[in-house]
């Protein structure tokens, strides 16, 4: 392939990315270290916005809550996703294509719609509470929504497919003969799983967890709709500062804190998945 051909083929998208992706992110960094006076950008250097963020107990608390939520969502996704991925990797069922559709289709259904589905279920007058009240099992509705519980449920639902896809990719590549060999040598199925399959699937566990964690800490639709502004996370602060308060530099500084965390996680993710970087996730 000649140099010219390569340039023609790669040029359009690389150029588009440079102008509409890299440049805006550089601008975000520049804004986060600039002053703003009376709604106008004043391009003089300051670290004030970062100092403000890290010295205010409220924002540091929000950062802590966001990371904690990420840990919980990742752990629950792993717990629910592993059996699913394992089953998908070993099954010879003729229903397998259907199972893949089940896992993929939530990915293609918009996030607002999935949140709405959970709202119908979890609201005070929602399906679960209404059904329980109808039978006289509860007198006042259980607090299922507008709190961390509702946010966690919906976040796990949104990111579970990513976990399953990451895990299945790795589980499928484990040579079944290794497990057979350990059983022949006298290991119980349980021991074969914990001493052969599980350790070999660690790269998948790590990749899936990094992906889900990084997506979970940057989600803000779910906290808004199912947290009802009662659960505060970092992406919501970014959104409020940029689109309601119009404090661009502070919003940009918040966004950059989130960006640094994400990029660090992604760097590890790429290292882990280097050899297995195929498919959609």
């Amino acid at each position: 392939m000649t140099r010219t051909a390569r340039l023609l083929l790669l040029g359009p998208y690389v150029l588009l990315l440079a102008v509409f992706f890299t440049a805006p992110i550089m601008l975000l960094l520049a804004i986060s270290v600039s002053r703003q006076s009376f709604g106008q950008m004043d391009w003089t250097f300051t670290l004030h916005h970062y100092v403000r963020f890290f010295s205010d107990a409220y924002y540091v608390g929000v950062l802590g809550d966001t990371l904690m939520l990420g840990v919980i969502v990742t752990a629950v996704s792993l717990l629910l996703g592993y059996p699913l991925a394992y089953h998908l990797a070993v099954t010879r069922s003729r229903w397998k294509p259907l199972l893949i559709v089940f896992i993929l289709s939530p990915l293609l259904v918009g996030i607002v719609i999935r949140c709405y589905g959970w709202m119908i279920l979890l609201a005070d007058r929602g399906l679960i509470n209404a059904t329980l009240a109808q039978h006289g099992w509860i007198t006042k509705p259980l607090p299922l929504m507008y709190n961390k519980f509702g946010v966690t449920i919906a976040l796990v639902h949104v990111f579970l497919p990513f976990m399953v896809l990451s895990l299945t990719g790795v589980l499928k590549r484990i040579d079944p003969q290794l497990v057979e060999a350990s059983k022949t040598l006298g290991a119980s199925p349980r021991r074969a799983f914990f001493e052969v399959t599980l350790p070999l699937s660690l790269p998948g566990i790590l990749a899936g967890s990094l992906l889900v964690f990084s997506l979970a800490i940057s989600s803000f639709v779910v906290p808004i709709l199912l947290g009802g502004f009662k659960v505060h996370v970092l992406p919501m602060v970014v959104y409020e500062q940029v689109l309601s308060v119009f404090d661009w530099p502070f919003g940009a500084a918040n966004a950059f804190v989130l960006l640094v965390i994400s990029v660090a996680l992604i760097a590890v993710y790429i290292k882990v998945t280097e050899r297995a970087l195929r498919g959609i996730v």
Partner: protein
């Protein structure tokens, strides 16, 4: 046995919200109860009669169509150069072109909003379209790369040695073989764009609202099942698109299993 039951329960958990939304859309009552209060199409009628929803649906479809088309072309081109080319910095470039996929969309959204505002391009149709193309093209690159790596380059060389011009050899041989990846990538790009909320939120205005944004705005003020009808419609679209991907590329290949 325990594995099968727990797997079944997790599948139920995955599908539950979507099933509930579809049932609520066809339910006659204002609140969804179990058992349902009778069948009705009035929420769909509401959806189709509301001008805002129809305009939003049209805008989303149009943006998704152009996004899919453009990202299929530039994504396929980039992917060919990345798979076939042997040059320094290829791995870095590979990571660079897939980076929009890995960076949280809220960050891309905020960065683009500030960038567009300073350029006076904010909340225009072109700005929205470019934003969508930036985030969907990496998906096309992924799917096309997956089909290209199986492709035997000898086929293209054979066509050339039989006298075909390299460009003709490409269009008549290579493109024919990698078509499944291109089409599946384009369909996925369409779906991502059609359902995109996070990025669109930063790039739209009251005059330029795609369907997910319109639905979100509606949900903030009312809870009636018209939103369920809109959602059920979008779920139908998503299902058709998944079946399209299955038909053209095969889901196992698509997911990389």
């Amino acid at each position: 046995m325990i594995l099968r039951i727990s797997v079944g329960l997790v599948y139920a958990f995955l599908l539950l919200p979507m099933v509930i939304v579809v049932l609520a859309a066809f339910n006659a009552g204002n609140y969804f109860t179990f058992p349902p209060q009778g069948f009705s199409l009035k929420w769909f009628a509401n959806f189709f009669n509301r001008r805002e929803f129809m305009q939003a649906l049209w805008l989303s479809t149009e943006v998704a169509f152009w996004t899919a088309l453009v990202s299929a072309v530039i994504g396929t081109a980039a992917s060919i150069a990345l798979v076939r080319g042997r040059f320094r910095g290829r791995d870095m470039l590979n990571a660079f072109v897939t980076s929009p996929l890995l960076l949280p969309q809220i960050l891309t959204g905020v960065a683009l909003l500030q960038f567009y505002t300073l350029l006076n391009m904010h909340a225009s149709y072109g700005a929205l379209l470019i934003g969508h193309i930036v985030v969907t093209t990496p998906y096309v690159i992924r799917t096309v790369t997956a089909t290209l790596t199986h492709f035997d380059i000898a086929l293209e060389e054979a066509a050339q040695s039989l006298g075909a011009h390299p460009v003709r050899a490409f269009f008549e041989v290579t493109l024919g073989v990698i078509k499944p990846g291109v089409v599946a990538g384009a369909i996925f790009a369409f779906a991502i764009s059609f359902d995109n909320f996070t990025l669109s939120l930063f790039l739209t205005s009251s005059k330029l609202t795609p369907l997910p944004i319109e639905l979100f705005a509606y949900l903030k003020y009312s809870f009636d099942p018209t939103a369920a009808a809109v959602s059920a419609f979008a779920i139908g679209v998503a299902l058709v698109l998944v079946l399209g991907i299955a038909r053209f590329m095969g889901l196992e290949e698509f997911t990389g299993f």
